[in-house]
């Protein structure tokens, strides 16, 4: 069998130019698939991190029925925000941290004009436990909310621009511009409070730039008359792979008065974007593989037609038909292996180089660039390699079978 392998390698090496073209087709195809996957993975990771580590947290707990009417931002029923409930949540295995939030709507005004806003009351002392990247969206020049802040707020960048509000720290000394936040308690009591703008937030979701106002939890509670209450608890988990198990643990620990949701359920938009990206990647990969395999079929068919006399000779000197079949399959495998190894190598080098340099891309519609870091997924690289080799062998099946079926007498006589 090893002599057949040597023969196959020599046959591949015989028509060097054609084999090189086929090899490079396989190689470039594998490289392209790996790089596309690397960039997609990097992009998706950015989105997931943006959501999980900067926005929702991995899991969220709400009063039962909250998500069904989330559009109305109901303030009642609400959750208590105390040591007892936090301890019950922390006790669930896999939970890394928990923080409380008050999500509400109201009107923000600067004395001249007024518009609706979506308020996020965050606990500056605990927010980082649940979303480690808390504050990442604060634009340079502003500051993150800190424990002890009260009448302070961060405004979405577009909202601030339409109000011509300048945050503190951007006009030299002194306090930032002030805006008035007005909202109603769950029972309809109107209230309003003045806050100074400490910074601007920049999100990848355009809606948030136009509508979101971030304030300390205590201020939101005072504005809404909801002391000691929150509308959601954000939970971080130790391992994202264990997400569903931790969610189950929380459901069991908290009972039916609470509902527990994963970030995928909370951000269906992001989940759908991820699914779409993966679908597009699958389509691109399949197209590339079809092109590669067509190239291999072509190469092997040509070599079968060229070597009809040679095949006739082989058969005439007693080589078995299945051995001829095997010889051609081996040649295809050599091409597939060569191209696969080269492609995985080149793709791996390219992706890790891109990962090290990072690709600056414009953040969706908001201006500020973000750094995308492609990454190599080893199992996907292995799968691509296997598909390249197997694909080459399968593609060679028909030309190889054709060669093995030749009649030795006709083959010898042909020109």
């Amino acid at each position: 069998m090893s002599s057949f392998l040597r023969l196959a390698v020599r046959n591949v090496a015989r028509n060097r130019r054609r084999s090189l073209i086929t090899l490079s087709a396989v190689l470039l195809g594998v490289t392209a698939v790996l790089v596309a996957r690397g960039i997609t993975d990097g992009f998706l990771r950015l989105m997931v991190e943006d959501v999980v580590q900067g926005r929702t947290g991995a899991l969220q707990i709400h009063p039962a029925g909250y998500l069904a009417s989330v559009e109305a931002l109901p303030l009642a029923p609400s959750l208590p925000y105390d040591e007892a409930l936090r301890a019950r949540i922390q006790a669930v295995p896999g939970v890394a941290g928990v923080t409380g939030r008050l999500i509400f709507s109201g009107l923000v005004s600067n004395g001249v004009s007024q518009t609706t806003f979506l308020g996020r009351g965050l606990d500056p002392a605990r927010e980082r436990q649940a979303v480690p990247r808390f504050g990442f969206e604060v634009r340079a020049g502003g500051r993150v909310l800190a424990p002890g802040d009260h009448a302070h707020a961060l405004l979405g960048s577009e909202l601030a621009r339409s109000f011509q509000v300048v945050p503190s720290g951007q006009e030299g000394e002194g306090q930032g511009d002030r805006v008035t936040l007005a909202a109603s308690s769950p029972r309809g009591r109107a209230n309003s409070l003045d806050v100074s703008v400490e910074g601007l937030t920049e999100s990848s979701l355009p809606f948030e730039n136009k509508r979101v106002v971030t304030v300390p939890l205590k201020l939101a509670q005072e504005l809404l008359g909801m002391e000691g209450r929150v509308t959601e608890l954000a939970v971080a988990v130790e391992d994202l792979g264990e997400l569903e198990r931790v969610a189950e643990g929380l459901r069991a620990a908290l009972g039916p008065a609470y509902e527990v949701h994963t970030w995928q359920e909370l951000q269906p938009f992001v989940r759908d974007v991820i699914r779409r990206q993966q679908f597009i990647l699958a389509v691109i990969s399949s197209i590339l593989f079809v092109i590669i395999l067509t190239g291999i079929i072509n190469t092997l068919l040509m070599s079968v037609f060229e070597r009809v006399r040679e095949i006739g000779t082989l058969l005439a000197v007693g080589v078995r038909r299945r051995q001829v079949l095997g010889l051609f399959l081996l040649e295809a495998m050599v091409l597939g292996l060569g191209g696969g190894v080269g492609g995985v190598g080149l793709g791996g080098v390219l992706v890790s180089a891109l990962g090290r340099w990072g690709i600056a891309i414009d953040n969706l519609g908001t201006g500020g660039p973000i750094i995308l870091r492609p990454e190599v997924d080893l199992s996907f690289a292995g799968m691509t390699f296997a598909v390249a080799v197997l694909g080459a062998v399968v593609a060679a099946a028909w030309p190889a079978w054709k060669a093995s079926r030749l009649n030795p007498v006709d083959a010898l006589r042909s020109n």
């Binding site: 005004s109 004395g111 001249v112 007024q114 008035t180 007005a182 309809g188 009591r189 005072e222």
Partner: protein, 241 residues
């Protein structure tokens, strides 16, 4: 000693009455009866000025029944003609004639998108909701009252009201949130006798004190009290009829 206390108490209670001065409570009850009849039907015109100087004017018919039920029919301009609003407690539906369908809308406290609060027009019950206290008035010929919410259910934390000494009708009002900030202020004018023995201000201008350039004006053209408002008129099925 007890007799003395009793005498003082008697004097405190009877004092204002003796002087012909109504108590804060009496004034509030009168305000409620005038400004918030239990059932009424009214034709009015509402104009809202926005911060950019533009204004929109609507002609509407309002029907108010007991138990916080109300209906509004828009009659002009053409763009909103045929639209209806149904409120039952905290639930609000909007009926759009083009769709022939009622849509439930989020319960915003603003009345028809203007600067009125629903509590200002449709749910006036100050005597029940607020504890009134008379304070010195700087406006001549008026009584000034400070109203403090009795519970957390009310729309405002406190209200300051100026009432005419001659007939107890309102002249102006200021509305405050829990933080003590003034949210709105109102001016009442064009006192008109709508029914025999029933006079009320026909025009109310409500200013948004957070955005000074915003104000809304409600002019009541006609008003009938004690109309029949059967319960079936306050159902979704009745919208569009």
């Amino acid at each position: 000693m007890r007799a003395f206390m009793l005498a003082v108490l008697m004097l405190l209670v009877a004092g204002p009455a003796l002087a012909g001065e109504p108590t804060a409570e009496e004034l509030l009850e009168r305000y409620d009866a005038v400004m918030g009849p239990h059932t009424f039907e009214a034709e009015s015109q509402m104009t809202a000025w926005r911060e950019d100087g533009s204004s929109r004017s609507y002609a509407l018919r309002m029907l108010k029944a007991e138990d916080d039920k109300s209906r509004v029919w828009f009659k002009a301009p053409a763009s909103v003609k045929g639209q209806e609003i149904l409120r039952v407690g905290d639930n609000t539906w909007v009926y759009l004639p083009n769709l022939k369908r009622a849509t439930r809308v989020a319960n915003r406290d603003s009345f028809q998108g203007g600067d009125f609060n629903n509590a200002d027009i449709l749910r006036v019950s100050y005597a029940k909701d607020y504890a009134g206290k008379q304070v010195p008035s700087e406006v001549p010929e008026t009584w000034a009252l400070e109203l403090k919410a009795k519970s957390a259910e009310t729309a405002y934390d406190s209200i300051k009201l100026w009432l005419r000494k001659s007939d107890g009708l309102p002249v102006k009002a200021q509305y405050f949130g829990t933080s003590g900030q003034m949210l709105r202020s109102a001016e009442f004018s064009d006192y008109k006798e709508f029914e025999k023995g029933y006079t009320r201000p026909a025009k109310v201008v409500m200013r948004n004190e957070l955005v000074k350039s915003r104000r809304s004006e409600l002019v009541v053209k006609s008003l009938k009290r004690g109309v029949s408002a059967p319960a079936q008129r306050f159902t979704q099925a009745d919208l569009g009829r």
